[in-house]
Symmetry: D3
Subunit: 283 residues, 6 copies
Amino acid sequence: MFYHEPKLQYTVRVDKPNPQFARLLQQAIGGIEGEMRVCLQYLFQAWGNRGPAKYRDMLLETGTEEISHIEMLCTAVALNLEGAKGDLIDRVVSENPIVENIMWGMDPRHYLSAGLAAMASDANRVPFNGSWIVGSGNLASDMYANVMAESTGRALATRLWESTDDPGMKDMLSFLIARDTMHQNQWLAVLEEIGGPTGVHPIPNSFPADQQKEEFAYTFFSTNVNRPAAPDARWASGSSIDGKGEFSFMHSQPMGEEPKLAPPIPSAYAQTDQMKDKGSSHQ
Amino acid sequence: MFYHEPKLQYTVRVDKPNPQFARLLQQAIGGIEGEMRVCLQYLFQAWGNRGPAKYRDMLLETGTEEISHIEMLCTAVALNLEGAKGDLIDRVVSENPIVENIMWGMDPRHYLSAGLAAMASDANRVPFNGSWIVGSGNLASDMYANVMAESTGRALATRLWESTDDPGMKDMLSFLIARDTMHQNQWLAVLEEIGGPTGVHPIPNSFPADQQKEEFAYTFFSTNVNRPAAPDARWASGSSIDGKGEFSFMHSQPMGEEPKLAPPIPSAYAQTDQMKDKGSSHQ
Amino acid sequence: MFYHEPKLQYTVRVDKPNPQFARLLQQAIGGIEGEMRVCLQYLFQAWGNRGPAKYRDMLLETGTEEISHIEMLCTAVALNLEGAKGDLIDRVVSENPIVENIMWGMDPRHYLSAGLAAMASDANRVPFNGSWIVGSGNLASDMYANVMAESTGRALATRLWESTDDPGMKDMLSFLIARDTMHQNQWLAVLEEIGGPTGVHPIPNSFPADQQKEEFAYTFFSTNVNRPAAPDARWASGSSIDGKGEFSFMHSQPMGEEPKLAPPIPSAYAQTDQMKDKGSSHQ
Amino acid sequence: MFYHEPKLQYTVRVDKPNPQFARLLQQAIGGIEGEMRVCLQYLFQAWGNRGPAKYRDMLLETGTEEISHIEMLCTAVALNLEGAKGDLIDRVVSENPIVENIMWGMDPRHYLSAGLAAMASDANRVPFNGSWIVGSGNLASDMYANVMAESTGRALATRLWESTDDPGMKDMLSFLIARDTMHQNQWLAVLEEIGGPTGVHPIPNSFPADQQKEEFAYTFFSTNVNRPAAPDARWASGSSIDGKGEFSFMHSQPMGEEPKLAPPIPSAYAQTDQMKDKGSSHQ
Amino acid sequence: MFYHEPKLQYTVRVDKPNPQFARLLQQAIGGIEGEMRVCLQYLFQAWGNRGPAKYRDMLLETGTEEISHIEMLCTAVALNLEGAKGDLIDRVVSENPIVENIMWGMDPRHYLSAGLAAMASDANRVPFNGSWIVGSGNLASDMYANVMAESTGRALATRLWESTDDPGMKDMLSFLIARDTMHQNQWLAVLEEIGGPTGVHPIPNSFPADQQKEEFAYTFFSTNVNRPAAPDARWASGSSIDGKGEFSFMHSQPMGEEPKLAPPIPSAYAQTDQMKDKGSSHQ
Amino acid sequence: MFYHEPKLQYTVRVDKPNPQFARLLQQAIGGIEGEMRVCLQYLFQAWGNRGPAKYRDMLLETGTEEISHIEMLCTAVALNLEGAKGDLIDRVVSENPIVENIMWGMDPRHYLSAGLAAMASDANRVPFNGSWIVGSGNLASDMYANVMAESTGRALATRLWESTDDPGMKDMLSFLIARDTMHQNQWLAVLEEIGGPTGVHPIPNSFPADQQKEEFAYTFFSTNVNRPAAPDARWASGSSIDGKGEFSFMHSQPMGEEPKLAPPIPSAYAQTDQMKDKGSSHQ
């Protein structure tokens, strides 16, 4: 169950409102690297957690923190959009400030659809998509999904930091960058606890090893027809990273036959030419 | 540049065609954990690679291998859909086999839209979506994205393996499961080469450390109002996983103020009640 | 800023786990009538609120409550999916329980992608979509959006209630149905406070009335060529509902001309036949 | 069944073609607040209408009128895009007019994909999405969906009106703004006819009142941990708007227990660490 | 401008209501091969038509006819869903008819979201998507898009015809199949009028022929590394179909160099390892 | 099975890097007219091909060639994005180059999400969508889908060619334009082989002709209420294009009745007013 209070987790201050920067910030709200994704990803992982229970608790804690991050970023967007007023919208009589503003990269829907507020979509107004929320039921692959989300998220935050010289915005972003550092470490701590790379991999580690085609489990297949990869690359020789095999090298070659499909069934109404045939084989 | 040959990378044999299993296999083709995603993810990462060049080569190799996996799975779907013929479609006169087949969980579009062939979508026919393809320009976050994709992909393959007792299908899946093992190891090998967790993290490691709010970079924020997380959890005390800080613990509390937004601008046509107000503050 | 505690807002009890019902419950999580939509809609409206501040507070309160509803429903899904175990999955050796389960309407991705947990999508696994979240910057249209969301949401909840005879599930749904009653009333209370239909409409009420084509603002246009609507219908005669006009009736007829577009420009590379022409007019 | 004639419902005149304004107009065609949505929403509600029949007729009438609005807006887009010719595209030899045009906020796909014509998508070229079309089978929730669609649609139209000083475009928009006034009134007239707030609410009003948890149907839950909402707010005391209860106030508190999920089943291939556990409880 | 009348274009009669068939019919409403797509495609092509004007008229006529087809199919869906009542929903007390119905392949959202009416989506409830509507500004490519839409649409209709033995439904479908025949012929008639294959191709035929790399315009590139295509295939020798070249055959080989990208710029925050490098070349 | 080599199929040279043109090129990568679509469309058609086998081979060949085109375009995007460095990003200290760049039409996600590399989406960053990939199981409709894809694709390429004066980019595009010429001819060659318009149409040609309502198969229905189409148009008189009928002309008129739906079932919880009614008829 959830509570709130009206204050923000961290100060959001915009010194020079900038509607173009508001558009960029949207990537950190509703983009695939954004806070809606990590927030909901951690919460859904928590709500589906089947133990150990301490990880459920941790996922709930950090999922809840991320709601506060969405709140901060939405506030930052709304404050930056106030920049659409001072410079541009006051000139309504003589010219067309909104179109001018859009000419300069403002998202038109920030005005047309939201009346100068944040929306649940990315920097190009592609809507947030629930398919991005990963919760696999396997703790290790979920933790990798979380490390990856915080890594692309931190990369995004550093590029946003680079894209502004507003001191308030830089301050807020350096807070969020720090939190992404913590969260990367947090998910790595879980991976360490449940065995480190050697015990964790291959994911899922509960699948019986003798049921995979072991001979292909540590072999690098090279598809390059005229400059084969170096056979002594780290991924082509030596012990595998999961400690359970030896890397080897193989030139790609077919181990299967050319596929033969049956001819079309009448009720699928292919062309008559197709139905005279004997299916997709060459005989 | 790319070439092909008509044979398959590995044998695809369906002993007992099963249109329901064809639907499940679609998840491994066009689902977020599927082969279209990893194939295109590796290729786009390769095409955008700005060095070191050896990783570009490796990404191209494995991206190319994945096209062969899509081909195998599409063949497997087509062969399983032939099961819609023998048992059911022959009975057309007396009853309604397609509707019956769909009653039993076959995807109707396998018949209606594709005439019994694979499609570029998932097990519920949600189309493949390009937003799933991650290439961030940061090698470490891309490698984590790849480990994660192969981990959820291998979990999916093991569940598909579990969902069939067709010997041919089990054989094909145990080959794909082995390749996922290799690919997990491969991306981990890159992470090892570029520094292991300590050197790789926090991602991106090129952002100047003194520009993040260091005091919040290794602190666990607990949002739980009545049962705080254990302060001695691995992620709340001791050395951080990236080796660059010390974990600490803090009860969540606001560090910012309640947000104050300006009143609506006239040209956004809020309700007149809103415009009488002085904005969103409580004074 | 947000907090949580590990207990649920209201009891979630599943007496007879049912993976098919788990699929139906997904509509109330990630469907357009579901809790993710109302939760995020209220929070985004709050974060963009430009006054009066008391409505911002109320939106935050109820948005926060809705997170707890998502949590309850996700828990209910996870518990219902445990039904996939007892009856079906134990029979793995002799038959194929997952395919059997899917034959009976279970969502295959609940097993394949989530390992028996809730996901951020609807009853047909179409992902939650951020475009559904409405926050227009106009308080009255937002309140109507909220009444509408709670109305379709309550209709959904009553149909889910009808679809189960599990006492635990019926109890949880009758709680959610009650909350939807409250929330409908809540948004109506705001509409009452800011003027009721007469003062609120037409929305937005801040647009200068003399700038709309007043002669068409209260006229019903009938497009029916052979059985015109009754001219004395409530919407074709008498005082308008907003109290600002008189309804009237008119047979649809064109008031504009046939459109004439310029011929294609050369750089758009139409067919040569098109470019010989003088544009889309009939002269 | 449907007919057409080649003239437009109302004059569409563009005095100063403006490709940037063409982009903005797209929001009124294929955006969530746009005419494709209301058109299809009214038609689908009509086609699914199960009585009273007079509402089916009215929905058909207005749904048909809305096709004429899409036609007007598409014509307006095509005429505005002719502005891409005179000023810019003639300068092809010496410079790059399309890129220049796009620099100024024109949608590149208006040229690249459509050869200077309207498209079925919004101002950011996100495609029209069928999920926006609401027809619930409950007349009252559908009428609220329609009021809401016309309210956000009228807000959009007023903002478009504000974004142009082209007399022809302002004239067309003031016609559409007037029609939105009429349509808001029309759906409100239906709500009046079927009972007004008191009889209509809670929606659906056919669900047996004694089957909802009555004690929670008129209680405001406050989630604010440090500044509770005013207990005398209109939504926390006094008679409820639907006239069927009394508002009351309650501090949010959990009424359910912490969820306990069963441990992972073996066939879902969680990590081995997860499967040693006893599920997600703390005992 | 548009009109309607309350009668249907053609009789819709359902002799044996079947909720499963209602689901299949949805593919013909909101699927990519469905009537919403052709309807809107023809109308958008008409509204963007820049001449010759007679094609604009024809597109408007047939686009208008297609609205009537959507209406017929939506009526058919609603009538088929009445089958959910008699057999199943009456048994509410003793068992769970909706879940049972869904077990048999009914779309749950037909009940949960629409109260037994058609929706704007496909057979798997993936929403109609505006990106499917093609209007390129080039008449020939639009006509091919229309032939293709009517071809996949007619294939779909024949498969639906095959999927039912309801005489009323078969009658309606054989009407729609006939209309698809007409519409295929209609778009082919336009292609004949504007030049037939020889004059129409390559599309667009207004692009200056000497600006394409003529030496590659009629050469079949074979990528097959071990069984080259027959050099005397129709597409590898003889006169080209557009009558403007001679087909020839070539083994695929690279004509470009290995790409060399510059190293990452600092402000994109790649990993430090990447930035030491000299870009993606092998030197 | 697939192979690659590190060289490109054709030279990609960018003389004047231009981040705005990089955005336009994305339409040719991940847009509906782009190379990802044709590549995957040909491969999926090949993998589902049920004969004649020679068409499977040809589809595989050209599908493989298209991967090389995606590679060329992604390389072109990456090289054009290097233009974001020289002119703009160097000026980081004194001004804000990224926002400036975005002001001029660069896609912000090229920097924020991809670190200056191509992405799997279109010119407005709408993600590639698997629903665009058509493989119907009917060879003729697939060939029309392919002609149409190459026609809109070639139109796009000519417009891109028009949008740049960079000699390297013009050279690459004139190569791609030539390949589109070849591919259009190739699919037309298949249509010629399997019968030309007369034998191919109506598609599917395997559906028994006597099962369509023959009397409506060659009749043009005119919906225009005040200016009927010319009865001697090519599509209203004379022999049909498929050679199997005679065109005729008819004024649209209803041949069906007004639909009558049953009243709502109780378990769908319509409003009580609706349930008193006798369904949607006028009696």
